[in-house]
């Protein structure tokens, strides 16, 4: 027996000596097709590979392609009229699908066609629509012609994953068995998918990557994903040794996991930020003085502390890990005295009931966040108390899941606390452009629209960075939202697991699972 016992009285021996890693998922899987799932593809990332993938530093690295195409290396050529572009991928040779068939340029072209097919119901076809044609001059070269400049090309289509042409050509992808047993080129192969229970994947013996000593990856024989919807049960299973890895441990659970024998906690920064949004439909919130006062009223250090110290305070919506982050963007420091002074000066005086008002305009707001997200609800209550301290009354009006989202996007609130998780190349116009799809706050500034259009319409990194800086400056002045903290995923893992690299992007850490080992 190779079992490492978690100390006497701490539950059953960590049972496995068969080189199996058991992962806990908090959601029930819908489909294993990367293009139609509504979730982050944890399982998919271990099974299916794309041409590129984001690494631990949120930078793209080649996977099934040999290099990341750039203007500098000739992989990207802008059309002479400046309206379109051509991207050329050189593919890795000798890669085989799980069933042994060779991976070629035809698979890449097929993926584009399949995703673009109107009959296929997929949540994201973005990248597919910008491409007008794909040529495959030889089996390992793919030339994609785009009808527009798409600086964020790497965040879409071919990064999610490539579909096998030899298995899916002519098949209805909506109902195909592929959705339950996807075939990819990745380090693990799906062996069994029991709905509501688990997915068993096994080591792919044909996997193309080798370590420095020439040994084939992956080093783990079986990777099992168990579906455990209740987060307390998840914690119980980690404690009892029935689980080895949870990549997103809820903070309230993580706070209690610090001293559990046999379990290691790893803080993994995320490309996410928590924020307080203002609804511009509310007349007093349209007053910049009120927004500035609120910004000065919030002590971020308490927000961090209440959620276990895993998050970090931020002052910009651009997370500091990106080079677009502007360290000199103006900032509203915690200063309740200044907040009160601002409100007094603007004529919002404290009334007998302790709430400020100017004439009939009372500073009392309806504050929403997602019910059931314990971390958010705690932060919300801290903010409620901090607003009360400067004479602003906010009352919680929390909703569950879908009902909350509807309130958020339709602007059915005064204040909203929530967070965004993004990919490597966030499209900020989504949030702050007048017609941004996720702009539920009614924020609109033509200058901002202009900056965002510049930022998202060029391939020149210098120009994009300048626009990003301008955006951050303008956000600090307009203050439609107060960036509060940047998130971190808390990874709970068995101390036997080696080689785990956190991944801050929405591609999940499972993109790196080929390198994992069990001690």
């Amino acid at each position: 027996m190779l079992a490492t016992v978690a100390g006497p009285g701490c539950g059953p021996a960590r049972r496995r000596d068969d080189n199996t890693l058991v992962v806990g998922l908090t959601y029930d899987l819908d489909t294993l097709n990367v293009y139609s799932t509504g979730f982050l593809g944890d399982v998919e990332a271990a099974v299916v590979e794309g041409l590129l993938a984001p690494d631990a530093h949120a930078r793209y690295v080649p996977v099934l392609a040999i290099t990341v195409p750039t203007v500098a290396n000739g992989g990207i050529v802008v059309a002479p009229d400046g309206r379109g572009m051509t991207i050329t991928y050189k593919l890795r040779e000798g890669v085989r699908w799980h069933d042994g068939a060779p991976f070629t340029a035809a698979d890449v072209a097929f993926t584009w066609r399949a995703v673009r097919n109107p009959a296929f119901v997929a949540e994201s076809k973005d990248g597919a629509e910008a491409i007008v044609a794909i040529d495959t001059p030889d089996p390992f070269t793919v030339v994609c012609r785009y009808d527009r400049i798409t600086p964020t090309f790497a965040a879409t289509l071919f990064t999610f994953g490539i579909l096998p042409k030899h298995l899916l050509d002519g098949v209805d992808l909506n109902t195909s068995a592929y959705n339950e047993r996807p075939v990819g080129t990745g380090p693990f192969m799906v062996k069994e998918f029991r709905r509501g229970q688990y997915v068993v994947t096994e080591r792919n013996p044909l996997y193309w990557r080798r370590d420095a000593a020439g040994r084939a990856f992956p080093a783990i024989d079986r990777l099992i994903f168990k579906i455990i919807p209740n987060s307390n049960t998840l914690l119980t299973q980690l404690r009892s040794g029935e689980l080895d890895l949870v990549t997103q441990t809820p903070y309230d659970q993580a706070k209690q996991m610090r001293h559990v024998a046999g379990v290691e906690l790893l803080r993994s920064p995320l490309l996410s930020w928590q924020h307080l949004d203002f609804n511009f439909r509310n007349p007093t919130l349209r007053d910049p003085v009120v927004r500035r006062a609120i910004a000065h009223a919030i002590d971020r250090s308490v927000l961090v502390r209440v959620n276990g110290g895993f998050q970090t305070p931020v002052k910009s919506v651009v997370v500091p890990i990106f080079d677009f982050y502007d360290p000199d963007a103006p900032e509203h420091r915690y200063d309740p005295v200044e907040a009160r002074r601002l409100l007094d000066a603007a004529g919002y005086t404290v009334q007998p009931d302790g709430v400020r008002a100017r004439g009939a305009a009372r500073l009392a707001y309806r504050f929403v966040c997602q019910a059931g997200k314990g971390d958010d609800e705690l932060a919300q209550q801290v903010i409620l108390a901090q607003l009360k301290a400067i004479g602003i009354a906010a009352t919680a009006d929390n909703r569950t899941g879908v009902a909350y989202r509807q309130a958020r996007y339709k602007g059915d609130y005064d204040l909203n606390y929530s967070s965004w998780v993004t990919g490597v190349d966030p499209v900020y116009s989504r949030f702050f452009a007048t017609h941004g799809a996720n702009n539920g706050q009614g924020y609109s500034n033509p200058a901002m629209d202009h900056i965002l259009a510049r930022m998202e319409g060029t391939l020149d990194p210098g120009e994009r960075r300048r626009a990003a800086f301008e955006m951050q400056h303008l956000l600090a002045i307009d203050l439609p939202t107060i960036p509060l903290t940047s998130g971190a995923a808390v990874v709970s893992m068995s101390e036997r697991l080696r080689g785990f690299t956190p991944n801050p992007t929405n591609m999940t850490p499972f993109v790196g699972c080929a390198d994992w080992r069990l001690a």
Binding site: K255, Q256, G372, Q381, V382, A385, T395, A403
Partner: protein
């Protein structure tokens, strides 16, 4: 035996009264406000101490104060909701059971429909259309839990309808309402008391579920049900968060049960 009946009635009323008094007066005399966060304690729940007799929660709020304040919501909504539900259920059940025929059929199909509509989507719909007031909350809770009382009272009434003493009363020319109220219901009091007891617990726990769905009280206002729900992640590491609200719900149900026992023995034939 009568003295014990009186005792159980007294104890029940006394316990309930004491809890009501604590809920009303407690928050007023507590040195802490129910939503007052202690910056020094924020982060993790702290165990009971001299300053905080029942400890504090993750936000450094005094648990005892929150429990007493929570009693205002839970006791009023729990007792009122259960009373309305049991009263309405008893009325429907007695009517269906005694009248029989078409009335019985229609009322029982109505309960079938009520039982078939799941609470979750229904509450979401209602919450999207109206802002709840406490009275509305009581009505909604009662609306969700009256059906078991109706069915059990109907079954009881149907079976008692043919009992000798009812036949005798009818032969003496007693009217149907008087028969039901004076002769049948007192004999069904056992079942009615049990459903009232169950309804109190159900209403208290349901209140927190409704608040969670956006219909009802919202944080930071506490209720026993929501205190219990929020304690879920801390069951093992901070039991002082979950045991007291659970115990209070238990004691409330116990008190209602004692009152039910006392009243039943007094009214039974």
């Amino acid at each position: 035996m009568t003295s014990r009946r009186r005792t159980s009635l007294r104890v029940g009323v006394g316990v309930l009264g004491a809890m009501l008094a604590a809920a009303v007066v407690g928050p007023l005399i507590s040195p802490y406000a129910f939503d007052e966060q202690s910056l020094a304690l924020i982060g993790l729940p702290r165990a009971p101490s001299l300053a905080h007799w029942l400890g504090t929660d993750e936000l450094g709020r005094d648990e005892l104060t929150r429990l007493m304040a929570g009693g205002r919501i839970s006791l009023s909504i729990g007792l009122a909701g259960a009373a309305v539900a049991t009263g309405f259920g008893t009325f429907v059940g007695a009517l269906a059971g005694y009248a029989g025929g078409v009335v019985d059929w229609a009322l029982m199909r109505l309960t079938d429909v009520m039982l078939s509509i799941p609470a979750l989507p229904l509450v979401l719909v209602v919450a999207g259309m109206i802002r709840p007031t406490p009275a509305l909350l009581v009505v909604l809770i009662a609306g969700l839990i009256w059906t078991p009382s109706a069915r059990i009272v109907r079954a009881q009434v149907r079976s008692l309808k043919a009992a000798d003493f009812v036949t005798a009363a009818r032969a003496l020319g007693v009217g149907p309402v008087a028969i039901v109220v004076r002769h049948i219901l007192p004999n069904a009091a056992g079942a009615i008391a049990v459903s009232a007891t169950i309804a109190v617990g159900g209403a208290i726990l349901l209140e927190s579920a409704l608040s969670f769905l956006g219909f009802g009280v919202q944080p930071p206002i506490p209720s026993w049900g929501s205190l219990l729900n929020k304690s879920e992640p801390w069951l093992v590491s901070a039991p002082w968060l979950s045991v007291p609200p659970g115990t209070l719900i238990f004691v409330t149900i116990l008190a209602v049960n004692l009152i039910g026992d006392g009243l039943r023995r007094r009214t039974a034939r």
